[in-house]
């Protein structure tokens, strides 16, 4: 059984056709990456998957269950999301403890005490962080809290939307290491959305490249690293990711 099966996903916002016939399959325990530039539709795919964007057409199966517009509570126990901006995704007037207790209350889970302590240890934050407010935490620590909040329901799938792009590179390394380690230990399935090819290649085995709402190509990380993508768009993205090169920049064109 695949963890996620998306077939012919279409999302429109009025006149804008944000996602056009996107299809992909993610196996259980796999880490799947979606890369693209801004406006490519990569985050919209993730939000539609998470049930945050009810206006979509197509077929979507998660852990063997077909999904509609409304998601049952059991869906959220299995699928959780981590957002880009740890400064915006935590309630400024709630302590870490309150942020972590809320999903437990919603899902009626007992032994909150033990679960909160365990999940904080899992994201390598000591018990001293439990009663702090977000403004008392650094960006990296906040993102760890956001990951803890996603993990506390013991989900099987984590949807990660640019989880490290608001962080300094040294902190990014720590958060990526933590995510990789959690996936291995808890047997999680990841869908990671990022504009950074190197980050996606580091975290994922398979990558979908999106442009202007379409998945232009799906390729393995090995093929990306070897520099042998099929599509010209992907090759250009790869070239641009390797740093500034005056001659290369002159040849860039717009794909649509």
């Amino acid at each position: 059984m695949s963890a996620i099966h998306v077939d012919g996903l279409d999302v429109r916002f009025g006149e804008t056709h944000a996602v056009r016939a996107a299809s992909f399959v993610v196996a259980e325990g796999e880490s799947f990456g979606i890369v693209g530039e801004s406006g490519s539709g990569k985050s919209t795919v993730l939000r539609a998957l998470a049930g945050l964007n009810p206006d979509w057409t197509g077929r979507m199966e998660v852990l063997g269950t077909a999904q509609g517009r409304q998601r049952p509570r059991s869906f959220y126990a299995a699928v959780q999301m981590v957002f880009q901006d740890p400064f915006g995704s935590l309630h400024p007037r709630q302590t870490v403890d309150r942020a972590l207790a809320e999903p437990l209350a919603i899902h009626g889970l007992a032994d909150a005490e033990a679960r909160i302590e365990r999940v904080l240890a899992e994201v390598q934050l000591g018990p001293g962080f439990r009663f702090r407010y977000p403004h008392q935490l650094s960006g990296g620590q906040r993102q760890r809290v956001a990951i803890a909040r996603a993990l506390i329901l013991e989900p099987r799938i984590l949807l990660l939307d640019e989880p490290t792009s608001a962080l300094d590179v040294s902190i990014q390394a720590e958060v990526l290491n933590l995510l990789a380690e959690l996936r291995l230990r808890l047997g999680l399935t990841f869908v990671l959305v990022s504009h950074n090819l190197a980050v996606v290649a580091h975290m994922c085995e398979r990558i979908a490249v999106m442009n202007a709402g379409r998945i232009v190509e799906e390729l393995t990380t090995a093929s990306l690293r070897a520099g042998t993508p099929r599509e010209a768009y992907t090759r250009q993205l790869l070239l641009a990711s390797r740093g500034y090169d005056r001659a290369a920049a002159a040849q860039f064109r717009t794909f649509d």
């Binding site: 590179v169 040294s170 190197a198 290649a201 580091h202 250009q236 641009a240 090169d245 005056r246 860039f252």
Partner: protein, 282 residues
Amino acid sequence: MSAGAAPLLEVDNLHIRFHTRTGIVEAVRGLSFTLGREKLGVVGESGSGKSMTGRAILRLVPPPGEVRADRLAFKGQDLLTLDEVGMRAIRGRRISMVLQDPKFSLNPVMTVGDQIAEAYRLHHKVGRAAARARTIDMLAAVKIRDPKRVYDLYPHEVSGGMGQRVMIAMMLIPEPDIIIADEPTSALDVTVQMQVLAILDDLVTQRGMGLIFISHDLALVSSFCDRILVMYGGRVMETVEARALASATHPYTRGLLACLPQLDDPAATLPTLQRDPAWLGR
């Protein structure tokens, strides 16, 4: 830089501190460098003092910030003792600044062309028609395809990449000697980023300007600039030739390089940066 001539910019022992309720925050501690007609990268993580350094050169550090230095000079002219009138003649005209996000740095209720023309007319005594013609030339110089049409667009009608080109056009039109670019391409997509950098590169090289390129992206800066200043905690850790970045010696620079995921060199776990209090001289 030709031998004997005064460098474009001299900064010696620059300190920036903020007196806050909870004590004194030292944003920059004892920074020194000189700038010639070159591309100098200033790299550091958030809180390293890199942006404050850029602002201090233009005397734009907001209160309660306090700037001290043994010397801060533009072409031999002391910027620390210059009065406000003199400073206004420097800002924009001789030293200009490109900021990170065109969405927040352009005036939303003025067409982009009029904003650029305003920057020109502020420093040059010319009529409207002449300024308009000059602006259209400048828009063409930053590779905007249909400059006459774009002149009359408002900032919300242009894309991020085009907005940043408009900013660059506005900063270049008074023909300054130094451009300070604070994360000029960080809000842009990677391919657009490269195109904007190519424009900046060409203009800086053709006009023989000095560029201070402030960025958090060590890999990008090393491929774009001639020389790199690596900052941490308000101090310079080391200055390296961009080409020789791979052989940088300071553990902070090496740590920053190592913790980046590499496309060519996969690693199961990324090395994390171990910070040494000794770097801050404490």
